[in-house]
Symmetry: D3
Subunit: 252 residues, 6 copies
């Protein structure tokens, strides 16, 4: 039971770790969402949880909460859209309320510092609202908390992008199921990637607006928004190393 | 990627499995809750997920969804209470809305049959409401779905109880963190149990009412409501075998 | 206007009774639900209100609030199910919010002690949530309140059960519309019971799970889950006497 | 069990009355609110329920539902304000949701016609919203319902007002706890009125706006907004007769 | 940028005006609702905003917030009903929450005094709830605020009514789209009134109840509830002058 | 009353324009938010409304709805943060519900096509949810609608950016209150800009995460995230011309 995952601790050990309010709780939030025919539905959960665990191991002063697995509705231009079989999403309100409650439950144990590690772009604004309201609610009880909200990819540098994409980067907007996520998954969960099914497509192009109901014709039929073909576990390692180091350096 | 866990499938394989609406989705719902000093915080998640996976493996026609990990507030007389460090619970409304959205998201993929496998007593009524409302909402769209809601322990027979408790059973009400849950965890996750820390106590006794705010003095200081001391992996196997067989026989 | 029912008091008399915060408010919560062809739809309201009034009369320090009459959705295995004509139920959220508001309104008058007297099993968890949230909200205002939540049947002893069921007790689970409730109603509202219409059936048997939408074929066509045939007013008196005495002894 | 109160019927008798959808359900909605030192807290519940019962008796085709007892927050200029001990009110949302659910539960039994009989001015707009949303929700299920919303005092004619107030009528706005309500209560529940405690005051005068938090100094200290001194049971009979006859004539 | 409309100020100038908490914020709330074939859809927004600006100009100590433009559902007997094309209304809950948030946002800047200037009758009770809850929430944070809620027409005297309606006043209830509103609009926005399209009708008469779904046959086909034919800009000036003077005198 | 602003039409003219369902409703959604000491608080409302009006004028088949003025909470890295005096924001839920209701109200008039013209970055995801839910709700009623969601700045080309920023573009992320918005305001509302107060600062730099409560020290003290010093009305015209032309070309 010596783990950075708090759910694997017994409650007395956990209590002793958090009671002084100086432990930081890392809360991964992801999504169940198609990532192309070559990959499982859960990279957005597994990647932030992996990163959170590595950060916590280095820090010595952090614990990782069980991830919130189901996230906000996949959007066409960032995740392919909410109409793919396998893409299994909740409403903004549900995600907000659930994350809000979870944060405040950890506050009740004495925790005061949180890092929400987001793995799914579409979650962001609902996590903003959850964090903002949790801070306000805690304050009504006379408790000051601090909630950091980060998306792991924001810790990837231009240098690494150049190294990962020597032939040019098509941009963050179309990275869904592409080289970045696939490379990370090849590194941390190769058993959940089958590169023989990877579809090599040009980067998707989208008009400068969204439409509801979404139009499936906007999305490549594979579900990825760019080609994962050049993904490798080595690239995944570069990316992870940088994200983990960056987060540690900032909050360690 | 040959798994009964749907999140480990790629979306095209998943789509092919569910498109005719004849696959049953097993949705484990648990809790993060103290289970005594000898056990991790996540038995209520791991046990229903384990059972769901074994059932799905035997069935050939079922898939297991990612569990909903955070459940409704632990109550004193069934889970020790919501004031223990480590017990990390959400409001009834949050659980209801989150589970409701998740069920309806699977309906959108074409699924029509669900078994919600509950591992935390306090979740029950909020899952009832989620299931009832999901059925009603689907019907407004012209879709008939069927949602079974079960708590795995309801499949344990009196015979097995006698076998597990040869010296007499103190009753379901005080089984929190006791022989049943501990035995199952010894069987499926021995690394998350440390029997050397198990506290041998007489079964808790409670008055015939509840009080809010809860009174921690009602609860044994270890957090379990009866003694886990006689738990063994073998007993865990008996229980699991019966639950899994019973669920398979009923819904297989 | 000398009554234990607070709604029958004028406001100044009420104010004088509650202003020191030492009066306990008894809040009956019931349901409008079929109870077989031999009985009215309101036992779940009338019984807890009756008990509350008798308790308040003995106590001298309690007042009875107007009951919340409509409760949470009847479930097949405890109340026959929400599809019977006459069974008139609200959502969990509506019950929770309504009860929450009512409790806090009494807090605003200066009351600090509450006993919620529940007469309908299905209400329980939503009243738990209402009570828990009311305690938390009052605390944000710097007010400590105490809310007891009880279901009257939990004060019936094994001895009384044996006396009421000399031929053996089929268990609490199937008591809906059976000997217990019918006997109490024969005692307190004989005009609402017509024993000539009572249907003598064996106790209902249910599988170890629930299903949504519910299957009416699971429920005896009379709507009761066991036979009310042996109900008598005398048995009703035994039960009531014990419940009232028990509640008085505990909280008086 | 031969009653116009549906809660006093057994479910089979009720079913037979409502199954053709031609029975009208009368739903009284009131409030628990101070009405001066001379009267109980429940006139807003008892009066609409009384009127509903008399209307149903004459009609032969109507049934009276259990009242919704707790209503929206008393306002200074219509009910004295929400700060009086004994005035026990719920939020607009709670009332709306509760009433909405109750109406739709009766729809599920086959009922299609409703008359909501309001006894508390402040409820009106929240009942409008409940009715409007219930109609819309039923329509989504392919069911057309009709919900009438009335406040009983709107059926009192100018002629009766002149007869009841031979010395001049101070206006509806200040009738809270005055001659009209007191007279009706003297007629239907004399045991809940004590005219010796009635406070004879001039009609309250208010500025043309509201203020929050309300200012108790705006309200006569007795809590009534005009004098109940000239109330009599005979006047109560005139008023009731006219309301009941008017409602019957319109909807009978 | 020297304006009484706060949205036209730069933030530093605004900050300097409000930082001592002694500025009063005037918040107009209206509706988009048909007002007959002779007038635009926005009188309920433009009139309270106009009045608020004139009041603020005279006061020197008030600022006008951007109006909340969409209000609660038009009702047949006060606004013609929610079924007219152009009548564009939100639910009670949406209006309540939106207004509640807006008030509390201004509180966060340091403001403590508010006047909500309502221009649409149907908004009233939802604004009551918004104001009441905002006061309570602010208080939980240790902040006392005061929210006045007024509808401008309540400042029109009987004398002015006699002057405006020399041939007799049909009553407030049917003034929708009639002489009062049309005269004001002729004064402040003559470009949005076309008197050649005004329909001269007798005042509408309504039964003493409401019905849902509403019956369009109750409403004059023009959408106004009385005739606007005798509206003039001069009458509009009389009315405005009195309302503005009255509000200034009361709160200035 | 010949206007593209639908609120300036009488209801019969509006009805005639929309009854065939082929008119597109443009709904501007903005925010009240500080934009530096040189500019008013309402650019996020005025700009999308201006663009919508110009688009509608060219199209001949579109109408502009009254804007939703108050938007979601300003964030530090896109709008300076929600702690500036003058920044007046609502919760995500309020914005979502309000916009959802407004869209569905226009659907009730017969409209089937909508373009939500967003002027405040932080609104985006809550408008996504409003649009998604509105589409789903309409569909339950058998009505198919189409809601386009656009932020006007997404129609600005790289060419125009180069022309507007000849010395290099600091990036969209820091454009809050900078050259783009200021230039547009100088073109359409020069009276609301005072360039003499413009503060010339280097572009803000932010860490790759957010924190709650936000840290005001992250934000330039002027409130803008880059310098507006080089804004001109001519640049504003270039930008507007391109946005208006682009939207017309796409949806005209």
């Amino acid at each position: 039971m010596n783990s950075v995952k708090l759910a694997e601790m017994d409650w007395m050990s956990y209590r002793d770790r958090v009671k002084d309010g100086e432990c930081t709780i890392l809360l991964p939030v992801g999504a169940i969402e198609q990532h192309g025919p070559h990959m499982s539905l859960n990279p957005d959960v597994l990647i932030p949880e992996h990163i959170a665990c590595r950060v916590a191991e280095r820090s010595g002063n952090m614990l990782v909460a069980p991830p919130i697995a189901y996230g906000y509705k996949s959007q066409v231009k960032s995740g392919g859209g909410n109409f793919f079989p396998g893409t299994t999403c909740v409403s903004g309100r549900s995600l907000e309320e659930y994350a809000y409650d979870v944060i405040l439950a950890y506050v009740a144990h004495g925790n005061r510092e949180f890092i929400v590690v987001n793995g799914h772009f579409e979650n962001s604004m609902f996590l903003v609202e959850a964090a903002d309201r949790a801070v306000e609610h805690a304050r009504l009880s006379g408790i000051e908390i601090k909630v950091v909200l980060l998306s792991y990819w924001d810790f990837i540098s231009a240098t690494t992008i150049e190294k990962v994409f020597p032939e040019g980067f098509s941009g963050w907007a179309v990275e869904h199921g592409g080289v970045l996520e696939t490379s990370i998954m090849l590194k941390i969960h190769p058993e959940l990637v089958d590169m023989s099914k990877a579809v090599d497509i040009p980067p998707a192009e989208f008009p400068p607006y969204d439409v509801f109901p979404p139009d499936p014709a906007w999305v490549p039929s594979s579900g990825t928004l760019s080609s994962p073909a050049k993904a490798t576990a080595e690239k995944g390692k570069w990316i992870l190393d940088e994200c983990i180091a960056g987060i540690c350096r900032t909050f360690g």
